[in-house]
């Protein structure tokens, strides 16, 4: 399979970014919107063409999907250890290409309506293109270091877009928070990369992931504190992934990231960038599975399960619609991590891996739809808060129906997309551990409850009197909603297990009827409760909240994690550690240097009178010097 044309996929958004960024002021907003959409359309067509070529024409050899690599060496360290830049085509990277290009195209089209009349319109599209370029680079990376480079680039674009409304203090603070927290996690990632480079001598995914390769076979050769060094490296790499994917305890940046414009939240903080952590673990899955017999995968699954439960509980109590969706995203990513963690490797054993990727795919569709729908609502109501909404179904029919489809999809109602992927995840969890399965099923119930609380709260509930009568959004915003709604319905029917599996061989997945029925039942129960609580205006929900009192308050304040972090950083690290160091630096290190400088100045002031500027004085000095020398020489020579 000739893959060199795929280099165009990252290059086109980069070109769009450069054009829009450099000629920022010269391009009219309408034109810049079309440039962005045009570039993305081209890459989307290329991505779909590549997917078609790969899955149906040339990708398979003897029943297994091949990996195609094209790369050039960028930096050489030793014969085996070098940093390459290139593209790697295998089932998961092709799948991510489809996700990124589809969602990004939809968001570009949607932004033309949503960001209309914004003063930074062209800049916004430039940043979106920069992000899309970085994300393509990330999913196509051939080695750990390349993925790290683009990993940081998506971090920067996320930072720029969260802080897009840079005159708002909260947006600036949120951008900084997101950047610092993910940077902190990436520090672990970098150390992990360096450890792997040092002990295995390569960063190449193909070499590292080969189950018969030296890296995996010799994992036990060096150990540190009871675990193999490679295990430590994988834990650190997972730390980077957890930071990007907002896993507990590095999740605190994601809710605040909702300060960015809503299309950004849909693209970056729901569908693509936040799943980079899942993608990273999936990319290194053979290593995670074989090194130390899958020790790190247990950590991955428990972190994922805990995060998904934790976020789902918080989501129930939030009142800002975008924050509810943010916690829902965190919860669903936790689901994916959990599923990866319980996965095996060969054949049907690898159902967890397949389910995780499947859920990543379907989740991207319906979560982007939910965010774009929420954006449409915010566009009409000019508020983020549930209390300002209600009864919108009459005013915004298209948004209402598409939002309902997405909510049903995430709640796992058949035959929508979420049902299929969630079912596979629960099958994988059930086959692995009862404990994880019960968390999964609980989260499924909570998910459908908070999602329909949101849906009923926005579109049903109390009949709010609006100052400005809300009306349906323009066509540039509703068309992406409709397209994504169609995707949310149909993508579940893709026989994913035949295309994307850990061993790349594919298997036929069957619906596990008892488990599927349980999941659907739990989901419907959640919806039913939401129906009772929120469909009509009543005080049931409030009474329940009061009954839970303390716990409700705890959860609605996000379990006080922001405050805990603030306490640790401000009170402990800044005051107890940083402040004394800063004092030492200022008083002793700087003091010494400044003392030397000041003393020189004082001495110079004292002796500068010698330099009178009078030629005669200098001549006198010169001549008297000559006379003294003459006397000395005469004295010496006449002896």
């Amino acid at each position: 399979m000739n893959i060199s044309y795929l280099f165009l996929i990252p290059i086109i958004p980069l070109a769009v970014f450069l054009v829009l960024g450099i000629f920022n002021k010269m391009i009219k907003p309408t034109v810049s919107g079309w440039i962005g959409v045009g570039g993305l359309t081209a890459t989307t067509i290329l991505s779909f063409y590549a997917a078609f070529q790969y899955f149906f024409v040339t990708g398979k050899l003897d029943g297994a999907y091949q990996t195609f690599i094209e790369k050039t060496v960028w930096m050489n360290f030793t014969d085996t250890l070098h940093i390459d830049l290139g593209i790697l085509i295998d089932p998961i990277s092709i799948m991510m290409l489809i996700v990124v290009s589809t969602i990004s195209l939809m968001v570009h089209i949607y932004s033309r309506g949503y960001m209309k009349d914004d003063p930074g319109y062209t800049k916004f599209f430039a940043f979106l293109s920069l992000f899309t370029f970085s994300m393509y680079g990330l999913v196509l990376a051939t080695n750990l270091f390349q993925i790290y480079i683009f990993w940081e680039l998506v971090g920067v674009s996320s930072f720029l877009l969260i802080g897009y409304y840079y005159t708002k203090n909260s947006a600036v603070a949120a951008a900084k928070k997101a950047f610092i927290v993910t940077r902190f996690a990436d520090f672990g990632f970098l150390i992990g990369i360096l450890i792997i480079g040092f002990y295995t001598g390569t960063w190449d995914f193909e070499t590292l992931n080969n189950p018969e390769g030296a890296a995996i076979v010799n994992w036990a050769s060096t150990s540190f504190m009871g675990l193999s060094v490679l295990t430590w490296a994988l834990i650190l790499i997972f730390m980077g992934g957890a930071g990007k994917s907002a896993m507990f305890p590095l999740h605190i940046w994601l809710p605040d990231a909702m300060e960015g414009p809503t299309p950004v939240s849909a693209l970056i903080h729901a569908a693509t960038m936040v799943v980079a952590g899942v993608y990273l673990v999936a990319r290194l899955f053979p290593m995670y599975y074989f090194v130390e017999e899958g020790f790190v995968l247990h950590i991955v699954s428990y972190v994922g399960a805990f995060s998904s439960l934790f976020a789902a509980i918080i989501a129930i109590t939030q009142t800002d619609i975008k924050r509810i969706l943010a916690f829902s995203t965190m919860s669903q990513i936790g689901y994916m991590m959990m599923s990866l963690g319980v996965s095996g490797f060969d054949g049907h054993e690898g159902v967890g891996y397949m389910a995780s990727m499947f859920h990543l795919f379907t989740h991207a569709m319906f979560k982007a739809l939910l965010f774009l729908g929420a954006g449409s609502v915010i566009h009409a109501v000019h508020s983020n808060y549930l209390k300002d909404m209600g009864g919108l179904r009459k005013h915004m029919p298209i948004t209402n129906i598409t939002f309902l489809i997405a909510a049903l999809a995430i709640a796992g109602v058949p035959p929508l997309a979420g049902f299929w992927s969630k079912d596979e995840i629960l099958v994988a969890a059930f086959e692995n551990s009862m404990f994880i399965y019960s968390i999964g099923i609980l989260v499924a119930g909570l998910t459908s409850f908070y999602m329909f609380r949101l849906y009923f709260g926005i579109f049903w509930g109390k009949e709010t009197i609006y100052a400005h009568k809300p009306k349906e959004s323009p066509r540039s915003m509703t068309i992406p909603l409709i397209i994504l709604a169609v995707f949310s319905v149909v993508v579940g029917f893709i026989p994913f297990s035949e295309y994307v599996t850990a061993d790349k061989l594919g298997f036929v997945a069957h619906l596990n009827y008892p488990l599927a029925a349980t999941a659907v039942l739990v989901g419907l129960t959640g919806i039913l409760f939401a129906w009772i609580f929120y469909k009509k205006e009543n005080n049931l929900a409030e009474r329940f909240a009061n009954a839970f009192g303390f716990f409700y308050k705890w959860a609605s304040n996000k379990f006080y994690f922001d405050e805990l972090y603030l306490f640790i950083t401000r009170q402990l690290i800044f005051k107890r550690i940083s402040a004394p160091i800063a004092y030492f630096d200022k008083k002793f290190v700087d003091g010494t240097m400044e003392g030397i400088g000041n003393k020189t100045l004082v001495v110079a002031n004292k002796i500068k009178g010698i330099q009178s500027g009078k030629v005669q004085d200098y001549a006198f000095g010169f001549i008297s010097g000559v006379v003294v020398l003459a006397i000395v020489f005469i004295y010496l020579w006449t002896n």
Binding site: Q611, S612, G613, K614, V615, Q616, A619, F620, I623
Partner: protein, 105 residues
């Protein structure tokens, strides 16, 4: 070699010339006078070179050649100094060395 005059007498004369030059250089504040004083100092040394060559090593020529060399350099130096003095005069309308102290700041 001048008959009847010994080398000591001529060297005494050049020493007197030299110190007259030094004195002029130290006491005069007019730049032109100072330049003339410098010329006197140079001339006294040139005479020294020629006299020592003629009296002590009459068969050699280095002293005389060196004297011509010094005269050439002195001419160039005078031209340069006069150019500086003219420019200075354009700037501050004075050739008094006491008023050229701005460089010390």
């Amino acid at each position: 070699m001048i008959p009847g005059i010994s080398i000591t007498e001529i060297l005494t004369l050049t020493s007197i010339l030299f110190f007259i030059g030094i004195y002029g250089f130290m006491t005069r504040t007019n730049l032109i006078s100072m330049l003339i004083s410098v010329e006197i100092i140079l001339n006294s040394t040139v005479i020294n070179f020629v006299v020592i060559n003629k009296y002590l090593y009459p068969e050699l020529l280095q002293g005389v050649v060196y004297a011509i060399f010094i005269i050439a350099v002195a001419a160039a130096e005078t031209a340069l100094a006069v150019a500086i003095i003219i420019n200075l005069y354009k700037q501050i309308s004075s050739v008094d060395v006491k008023e050229t102290e701005t460089l010390k700041h």
